[in-house]
């Protein structure tokens, strides 16, 4: 799953940057910012569970 996650995040990032450029050139700055924020939140919802999983396994392994 992780390798797919990496490519998913890269894809979302590229899409958001592209959309942002298009919106910037057509003069709608704030929408570009909104799109980038939404993309960021989407990526965060994928990244946070994987970090939580890592910290759980570290905690179980080392009895922190």
């Amino acid at each position: 799953m992780e390798v797919g996650l990496i490519f998913k995040i890269a894809a979302v990032g590229i899409l958001v940057t592209l959309l942002g450029q298009v919106l910037k050139h057509s003069g709608r700055e704030e929408q570009a910012f909104m799109i980038s924020l939404a993309g960021l939140i989407l990526v965060l919802t994928w990244v946070i569970p994987s970090i939580y999983e890592l910290f759980q396994s570290i905690q179980n392994l080392f009895q922190l």
Partner: protein, 128 residues
């Protein structure tokens, strides 16, 4: 075999991250975060084996099991601290990275203190 997986994932990830260096670097950092998490989760599998082997050494006495538990706690703390401070340094916030390292060192000292005290007490008992 695992090391090949790690290096290939890291190299691909670095090039993907460079895409986002200019316009919005947050995605580059999030991508780098997932790759670090992936590399660490591959590494943790070996740590589990190392831990089991080291725990076999603790047949010699009851208190060595306690010392090994503390040792692994310290390793875990350093692992997490290095992970966080490296990510902060990557993002450019070296002050925060340094603070995380300093606090990590204090925590390691705090957890390692009982070992030091019991060792000194051991030495004291035999030297008098």
């Amino acid at each position: 075999m695992d090391i090949l997986k790690i290096s290939s994932v890291a190299i691909i990830g670095v090039f993907l991250c460079l895409f986002f260096k200019k316009d919005n670097p947050q995605y580059g950092l999030l991508l780098m975060l997932t790759i670090t998490v992936l590399v660490i989760s591959i590494g943790i599998v070996w740590l589990q084996e190392i831990k089991d082997k080291i725990l076999e050494l603790s047949v010699y006495g009851e208190e060595t099991k306690g010392y090994f538990a503390l040792l692994f706690k310290v390793i875990g703390i350093t692992c997490v601290c290095e992970f966080t401070s490296a990510i902060c340094k990557d993002a450019g916030f070296s002050a925060l990275a340094e603070q995380v390292r300093v606090v990590g060192k204090l925590l390691v000292l705090a957890t390692g203190l009982p070992i030091l005290l019991s060792m000194l007490e051991l030495i004291g008992r035999y030297s008098v």
